[in-house]
């Protein structure tokens, strides 16, 4: 298919762009296969480059011959284009609609994008499972790498390499896979070096209504326990939901069959409930007309912060089991690809200082989200403005990022990255020139040959010039477990995401700049003082040598 077929009018002059807090810009609108471009052809005026894949929905309006297109983006921005000429406007609108909803992944921009920067380190090879395993293997010999899923035959949503208990062979893994939803047998998610406790994750056990059991599954899970120790299974569904799942062949671990484990049910919402919550929240944030009571009421009824609280609480509980109770845990919900990953990854943010560094956080995303098979393609297909309401669309990853932001806000000096880093990840998960978030799992990514055909997001982010934008100037390595507060008083709306386009951030940006200046100045002074001290020391040694004879 040629993009040209979809572009009936590639160019319109005298288009006026309206954005909140910016003066209107008049210029020429151009449509390309992947971008909507507005260029004023004047110096000093910023141009608009918008990826079609970032467009969530559009509205058209006509007043006489003047057409207006309102573009609503997946990053929640809303812009307005005034286009002279009814026909041009209709053409542009239909092109945008078609180009922003292309079916085929291989037509997406990452397959066409040619980077203008020099790749210093290929991000596709930055976080290999073998390297991650190395980090653990010095501390424990109870685990091994398994290649049982090499051809994605055992579990289509798992990566080819997973970490499992050493005492369990691949044959047993195959059997366990048939007992777990989507073949997602329990694998290692995190090893707590301090006390050797672990987080494992999986899909739900397929016990069904007749209480099916699987000896290998029981053996695998028990293999992770030390003698005399008990563990906890955190089911991210309420007991009620878990019981209902049995009717569809799913279920939960019966205590009788897993006597060394105690089950804890939490209820983290999933699917469209989260999507509805996002839609309501963004609507509330965009509505500037209402009064204070209505705002608070809409914020409350969106339930977004309730979801945040629930996810964070469960993650804290998991971390508490590991660090305070000295107990290993297994986490799953239904598929083990959504709420499960929110909990395992947030628990690591709390427990593991490395995951609060830039590199460590990237590794966490790579390990716990991309390789763990969170279906990004499905979940991030649409955002808050789309009416399609597909069951698989859900802001699971955004909720995770929001939770990280909440912890960052409570521990502003303990993270190497800043808020911008989280915002950037949100943007790229929904629309990107990089291939990292394409596909739903490793198997799909392999078939798409993303490594050969697209550029990794990490190749771009990890260049010093980019990193400097995402580095938190307040960062001081903190080797401790950090326990965030989950009280409602401590949780806030993430303004950097949800009010980003509805407020001017001028004064806050100035404050950030001031903060950077204070710290930079301190570092500069330190360097100067150190140089002088050294000079002095040298001079004085010379003196000493001269005096000693």
């Amino acid at each position: 298919m040629e993009f040209a077929e979809l572009i009936k009018t590639p160019r319109v002059d005298n288009v006026v762009l309206h954005r909140p807090f910016y003066p209107a810009v008049e210029g020429t609108l151009c449509l390309t296969g992947h971008h909507l471009i507005l260029s004023s052809r004047q110096d000093n005026t910023e141009e608009l480059w918008l990826l079609h894949s970032n467009i969530d929905a559009i509205d058209k309006r006509f007043v006489g011959p003047l057409g207006t297109i309102i573009i609503k983006c997946k990053d929640f921005r809303i812009i307005q284009l005034d286009i002279p000429g009814m026909e041009e406007c209709l053409n542009i609108a239909s092109s945008i609609e078609a180009l922003s909803t292309l079916d085929s992944i291989t037509l997406m921009y990452p397959f066409f994008y040619r980077p203008l920067f020099e790749v210093i380190e290929d991000g596709w090879h930055s976080f290999l499972p073998e390297q991650e395993f190395e980090l653990y293997s010095s501390a424990t010999s109870e685990w091994r790498l398994s290649y049982v899923n090499k051809e994605f035959g055992v579990c289509p949503s798992y990566p080819p390499i997973v970490i499992v208990p050493k005492s369990i062979d691949d044959e047993a893994l195959r059997k366990v896979a048939t007992f777990r939803h989507g073949g997602r047998f329990p694998v290692l998610s995190y090893y707590h070096k301090k006390n050797g406790m672990v987080i494992m994750r999986s899909g739900q056990p397929l016990t069904g209504t007749n209480g099916r059991r699987c000896k290998e599954d029981e053996k695998l899970i028990n293999a992770t326990l030390r003698a005399g120790k008990r563990g906890y299974i955190i089911d991210t569904r309420s007991l009620n939901v878990a019981q209902q799942a049995r009717a569809k062949g799913g279920g939960f671990e019966q205590e009788a069959h897993y006597p060394q484990w105690r089950r804890i049910h939490k209820s983290i919402e999933r699917y469209h409930i989260l999507q509805d919550s996002l839609i309501k929240l963004v609507e509330a944030c965009n509505d500037q007309t209402h009064n204070m009571d209505r705002w608070l009421s809409k914020l409350e009824s969106s339930n977004w912060l309730t979801h945040i609280k629930e996810i964070l609480t469960t993650a804290c509980l998991a971390a508490q089991c590991i660090d305070r109770e000295g107990a290993s845990i297994l986490i799953h919900g239904t598929e083990g690809t959504d709420s499960t990953l929110q909990v395992t990854s947030l628990a690591q943010i709390i427990l593991e200082p490395r995951s609060r560094t830039i590199r460590g956080f990237e590794a966490l995303i790579e390990r716990e989200w991309l390789q763990a098979g969170h279906p990004f393609q499905q979940r991030c297909a649409q955002s808050a403005y789309c009416n399609s309401k597909q069951k698989w669309e859900s802001p699971v990853f955004l909720l995770f990022l929001d939770c990280v932001w909440q912890i960052l806000r409570q521990f502003p000096c303990s993270f190497e990255f800043n808020e911008n880093f989280l915002i950037m990840l949100f943007e790229h998960a929904y629309a990107s020139q990089f291939g990292t978030f394409l596909g739903n799992n490793e198997s799909e990514r392999c078939k798409l040959k993303l490594q050969q055909k697209t550029m990794s997001l990490w190749s771009w982010v990890n260049r010093p010039s980019e990193l400097s934008k995402f580095t938190n100037p307040l960062f001081e390595a903190n080797n401790l477990v950090i326990w965030p507060s989950v009280a409602p008083q401590s949780l806030q709306l993430w303004e950097g995401i949800f009010l980003r386009w509805n407020r001017s951030s001028k004064y806050l940006d100035e404050a950030y700049e001031e903060m950077v200046n204070i710290i930079e100045y301190n570092k500069k002074l330190q360097a100067k003082v150190n140089i002088l001290r050294r000079q002095l020391a040298e001079l004085e040694t010379e003196d000493g040598v001269q005096e000693s004879p």
Partner: protein, 661 residues
């Protein structure tokens, strides 16, 4: 002392509000000025001090098997839950506190016994730190349009006004006297703020006694004089800060508001700020939300909305913004009033001044602002904050709301204020503490009669002495946010108003951010300052040595290893950071293990490391104290910091409580 029935009760338990299992055993003491709880734990002996004047309510709750429960709510939002073994002791404590918390004479208040060991001269100097005469000079007064009037000498015209007042030059004594007779409590229009850039002014008064039709020529002339004092505008705004309905109801009582037909060239405007009773109930409702044990997000947000608190804060801000705009952008003068002109009027005038004039956003300027719009203009501190026993219906968080408005602004303009959040919190604390004489009584007249300045100390001097603790590290006098008026967007912007947990939950340290950016940056700046000095010294020494070397004689000096970034290590600044109750259910974990070492308990720079500069603020309950070792004692150049005495106090007992399946 005669009110203390029992000075000491042993084996009292202080219950942690968040988790009832976390209680500490200790001894309760009652003194003439404080309630003191001393923990038994021999290694800590942690003390919690509560001033009697901070006590808002005392509640005797049901007796249980463990003893008699006593709940003490404080005006600074501290909450103390005590369990006293013997019912009789509990009753004695209860009866004693009821009396002690409600003094009947000013002389019973703490400021008359508080002695910070300053000599007379220092005390007197303290009272001269803030000088309103100087402030009016700074505004550019007197000038061709405004003059100092002695019409209220000896408070003969209005006993709740100060003696020194600025009025428009054309307003003769006759006009002023006439106008004052036409205003509630004789509070005639007087100058609050003069904007010298364009001659526009903010004046304040009480409501006119207009009833349904009454008018007063002198009052009309008074307003005309205010208009003429601003040659740049041919009208003035008259802003009635009450809801229209309230103002209309007042007409039946012979009061009311200005009729535009009677006054030439005024633009009349209602701005609906609710009265003190509505505000008192609103705060009450919000505090109930803060007190909820493990509320859900919906409980909290619904409760916050239902309290109406943020709506009221916004109404006050909106009024201030309206006036600041009128003055700065339209160049029009504004007369502000409510009913008596000492509550809403004070709030609104001070918010507008703060928006208009960067001076009020400095440490000293903010003190001046409170001195000007609140203390001197007869805001009834004694009645509103219940310092002496009085009518509970007079109590209302009027200045608390103003302080919160400032905090909300600080969030929007992080570089515009010279002071930080701690400054606001400490001022709020001392408005209720009665430790200093500044906020005593209901008017300047009463304060002079009591000879406050000769008998008590000034808070302003105390705060000024500790100003390093109150600095906003992001403030620079030459920063653009520190210049001119603060301009706020016209859109409603409800979302910029936030719940202030740093104030209303300030004693619940677990709810606050665990690391404070402000304190971190203050420490960095302090270090930079020391580095600057060292740099200078080093350069000097280097030069000297080089010179001496030429002369062939060595000078030896001690050598120091260049320390790498020394100061801000996160580990030794301990504030207990234990996991909270993440389950919301009280069934305890079956295999509770003892705490696993301390490392993760240690966290830095908590926001409520309320600085040790203030004994009453820092010597509060145990949670409070674990962070008291303040940043200034962390030697920035050494990095070796003596472990705080408190470190390790409150870490314990992981409160691991889980929901059992």
């Amino acid at each position: 002392m005669e009110h203390i029935r029992t000075p000491k009760v042993e084996n009292v338990r202080l219950v942690d509000r968040i988790s009832s299992k976390k209680a500490v055993l200790g001894t309760l003491y009652l003194t003439a000025t404080h309630v003191i709880f001393v923990e038994n734990a021999p290694d800590t002996r942690k003390e919690t001090w509560i001033l009697h004047s901070q006590i808002s309510t005392i509640e005797k709750q049901a007796t249980t098997a463990t003893g008699c429960h006593l709940l003490i709510r404080c005006k600074n939002f501290q909450l103390l839950q005590l369990v006293i073994p013997q019912e009789r002791d509990c009753h004695d404590v209860y009866i004693s506190l009821i009396r002690l918390a409600r003094p009947v004479k000013y002389e019973e208040l703490y400021c008359f016994s508080f002695n910070p060991k300053l000599d007379k001269e220092e005390r007197e100097r303290g009272w001269t730190l803030i000088d309103l005469g100087e402030e009016y000079k700074r505004m550019g007064l007197p000038n061709d349009y405004w003059q100092l009037s002695d019409v209220n000498r000896d408070y003969r015209l209005c006993d709740s006004y100060p003696t020194e007042l600025y009025v428009p030059r054309p307003a003769t004594a006759h006009i002023i006297v006439g106008s004052s007779k036409f205003r509630s409590r004789r509070r005639f229009p007087a100058l609050s703020y003069y904007y010298k850039e364009n001659h526009a002014s903010i004046c304040r008064s009480s409501q006119p006694l207009s009833g349904f039709s009454a008018r007063c020529l002198e009052d009309e002339q008074m307003l005309q004089a205010i208009r003429k004092a601003n040659p740049g505008s041919d009208f003035i705004y008259v802003v009635d800060t009450r809801p229209k309905l309230n103002a209309m109801a007042n007409r039946a009582a012979g009061k009311g508001y200005e009729n535009e037909d009677n006054y030439s060239n005024i633009k009349f405007q209602f701005i609906g700020i609710e009265n003190i009773h509505v505000m008192r109930n609103s705060l009450q409702k919000m505090l109930e939300v803060c007190e909820l044990k493990s509320p859900s997000m919906s409980d909290f947000l619904w409760g916050l909305e239902n309290s109406g608190w943020l709506r009221h804060i916004k109404a006050i801000m909106d009024a201030g913004i309206f006036i600041a705009r009128a003055v700065a952008e339209e160049g029009a003068s504004v007369l502000v009033h409510c009913s008596d002109g000492w509550d809403r009027t004070a709030q609104v005038c001070s918010v507008a001044s703060l928006l208009l004039d960067p001076h009020y956003r400095t440490l000293k300027g903010f003190m001046v602002l409170i001195e000007k719009d609140w203390i001197s203009f007869g805001h009834k501190f004694n009645h509103r904050y219940g310092n002496l026993d009085g009518d509970p219906k007079e109590i209302s968080p009027v200045i608390d709301q103003f302080i919160e408005c400032v905090w909300q602004l600080m969030g929007q303009f992080p570089c515009a204020f010279e002071f930080n959040e701690r400054f606001l919190i400490h001022i709020q604390h001392h408005i209720y503490s009665c430790q200093f004489g500044n906020f005593l009584c209901n008017s300047q007249k009463e304060r002079r009669e009591l000879k406050i300045q000769e008998r008590t100390y000034s808070l302003w001097a105390h705060l000024w002495k500790n100003r390093a603790d109150y600095a906003n590290p992001l403030f620079r006098a030459d920063h653009s946010q520190a210049q001119g008026a603060l301009r706020l967007p016209a859109a409603p912007c409800n979302f910029t108003y936030k719940f202030w947990s740093g104030m209303y939950n300030r004693f619940e340290k677990g709810l606050q951010p665990r690391q404070s950016v402000t304190d971190y940056l203050l420490a960095v700046k302090e270090e930079s300052q020391q580095l600057e000095e060292e740099l200078e010294a080093l350069e000097e020494r280097l030069e000297k040595i080089q010179r001496v070397q030429l002369d062939h004689s060595g000078v030896r000096s001690e050598r120091r290893e260049a320390s790498k970034h020394p100061g801000f290590s996160t580990s030794d600044h301990s504030t207990a950071n234990t996991p909270q109750d993440y389950s919301g259910n009280a069934k305890s974990f079956p295999s509770r293990s003892p705490s696993q070492g301390d490392e993760d308990s240690a966290l830095i720079l908590t926001q409520d490391n309320l600085k040790s500069s203030d004994p009453d603020l820092s010597a509060n309950n145990s949670d409070q104290e674990s962070g008291v070792e303040d940043l200034s004692c962390r030697s920035p150049s050494g990095g070796e910091c003596a472990p705080s005495e408190d470190s390790g106090k409150d870490r314990d007992s992981d409160e691991a409580v889980f929901l059992t399946a």
